[in-house]
Subunit: 218 residues, 2 copies
């Protein structure tokens, strides 16, 4: 049972994982301002997380801060980026080349975070056969063959909500290992399939609600 | 202290609020299939939330299910949409007309969820003065005047991460009441300002991590 090379990332708690991009954002900003060292106390002041929590979170990474000086900014940025997988090239297919799907394909920001959308899929003859920012759009029936040949483990789901489950089933049958679901639908998947839900519209509901509470209490 | 008209939305727990869009997504699909009634048990089977939790969540809304029949689908959809604020018109300005900002302006999906982006702002002379999908792009210095004249309480922040805090400060000074922050930066705001963080890139990190764990355990 003894493992000579422990997989640290296996045991990182998800709340820690979710905080790492905040630290990365902050140290990237420091580097752009040519700051050389930063302490967990200084990070804490900027992003409202306890300094002790930050030190604990960063202890999961292969980096040590120096007493009274802190972490080397450039090294911390590099280690965070690498740990988060942003410096690797993850191939993804996108299913549903409507308004949001097209927006994601044209968002060059995703490439900087390690996501490379290599093909789009749709059922609409008006978009099938077209190319968006050098990304070809295929008919959905070509998904199994194209996905495999392009080595895309990730399927991005940007179809209308009523097509979400059906599309997920097709993507999994075609060999996708992870689904990035942009619909508010709660997709059911077999065990072993990774699902990441990003419903930007659900976030809107929370924001409206808080704004209303403020207006009501005036 | 007795309030003759309790503000139900004031007391809804956030986890409940976050689940409502899932229910809405599902009943919208049912309506598109002309289903007339749905029980909390049937919803439960589809979206992996306990039936008792669903009944409890829906009890916050002004709707009653019928014994053995369930909720009227069309009424439930209408009540959910209204409660979530998706049927109202919320004006927003967008700051940072780069790749992601442009994508959000062109995403007509937001309009269907009650968000109307009425103006864009940037510092780049190459985009200032242009129009994207009928949305004019102004220089950032025009923000206070334009925001007020268009009645936009919400500011969407899609600038580079190192500009996030500065941009938030400008938006609040210009009168914005809510910030929808798409950067991974943890913005600090004065009390009373609503902040909704939607860092799609942080979601990517979680997805990569889970995919890696799966690959390692093969």
């Amino acid at each position: 049972m003894a493992d000579t090379k422990p997989q640290l990332r296996d045991i990182m708690p998800e709340p820690t994982l979710r905080r790492l991009p905040w630290y990365l954002a902050y140290v990237s900003m420091l580097r752009s301002r040519n700051v050389e060292y930063v302490s967990s106390t200084a990070i804490s002041k900027e992003i409202n997380v306890d300094a002790s929590q930050i030190a604990k979170d960063l202890s999961f990474l292969n980096i040590r801060g120096k007493t009274r000086i802190g972490y080397a900014v450039a090294a911390l940025e590099r280690v965070l980026r690498s740990y988060l997988g942003f410096n690797r090239d993850h191939h993804a297919v996108l299913i549903g080349v409507g308004s949001l799907g097209r927006a994601l394909i044209t968002d060059s920001g995703l490439t900087r975070y390690g996501l490379d959308i290599v093909a789009g899929f749709d059922v609409d003859p008006a978009v099938v056969g077209s190319t968006i920012m050098n990304v070809p759009v295929f008919d959905i029936t070509a998904l199994p063959a194209v996905r495999e040949s392009l080595g895309a483990d990730i399927a991005i789901i940007t179809v209308p909500v009523e097509q979400a489950q059906h599309t997920a089933d097709i993507a999994i049958a075609a060999g996708a290992k992870a689904l990035w679901n942009f619909t508010p639908f709660r997709i059911r998947t077999p065990e072993g399939i990774v699902v990441q839900n990003t419903s930007i519209y659900a976030h809107l509901a929370v924001m409206y609600n808080r704004l209303n509470i403020k207006s009501d209490s005036k």
